[in-house]
């Protein structure tokens, strides 16, 4: 999954993260790009951070774009535990999307 925004409502949250909740235990990768990186901060309300927290708890790989974090002034200390921060997020996403996974969803 490539997520480039934050959920705006509970319905939107369910729409985005429902699929991830369905595939717990399977090989899942979530890439946070653009405003999507804001979902990676800890201590947020469930609407914003809950989906990524659940994904991490279920063993998903979650990758956050370093450039977008720096641009938004979000230091690593604010991030949920277990995330990967990547300078080349787009390259890693392409590797997974084209070679490793059978479903690609972008938001």
């Amino acid at each position: 999954m490539l997520l480039m925004r934050t959920p705006s409502t509970e319905e939107d949250n369910a729409r985005i993260f429902g699929v991830l909740d369905h595939v717990q235990g399977r090989d899942v990768a979530v890439y946070l790009l653009g405003d999507g990186v804001l979902c990676a901060r800890k201590g947020q309300a469930p609407l914003i951070g809950g989906g990524i927290e659940r994904a991490l708890c279920s063993g998903a790989k979650v990758v956050v774009g370093a450039r977008d974090l720096r641009a938004r002034g979000v230091p690593a200390t604010e991030l949920l535990d277990g995330l990967e921060v990547a300078e080349d997020l787009e390259g890693s996403f392409i590797d997974d999307a084209m070679e490793r996974v059978d479903r690609v969803i972008t938001w």
Partner: protein, 120 residues
Amino acid sequence: MAKLIMDVGHAPFGHENAYAGFFVTMGWVSIGNQGFVLLRGEGVHAARKGQGDTMMEIGLPQTEKLVNDIIGEGARVIAEKEALRARNITPEMLIQGVEIMSSSELDAVVLEHGERVLTL
């Protein structure tokens, strides 16, 4: 048969997403492919029957006609049960042929058929 999921979350007609999604789905099924349109959140309004002459009233394509057309071409159009309930839209208010599924069931459709997923 190749499959496409079109996940629509915007109401017509404030955004072009709903009718844009129906147009793409029409192109997809017309060349022999299998198409699924999932109407979630505000997107469920696109499946309301009894829409007026939208071209005359607001100069935009009527999603009721588009839904009828793509169902006629074999696409499945599925509205989210929870979103309908939240908006006080009953099954009788929907275009004939539109299916209703829970949010969880729609997620399962995405996983089963989502070789290609477009989110609008």
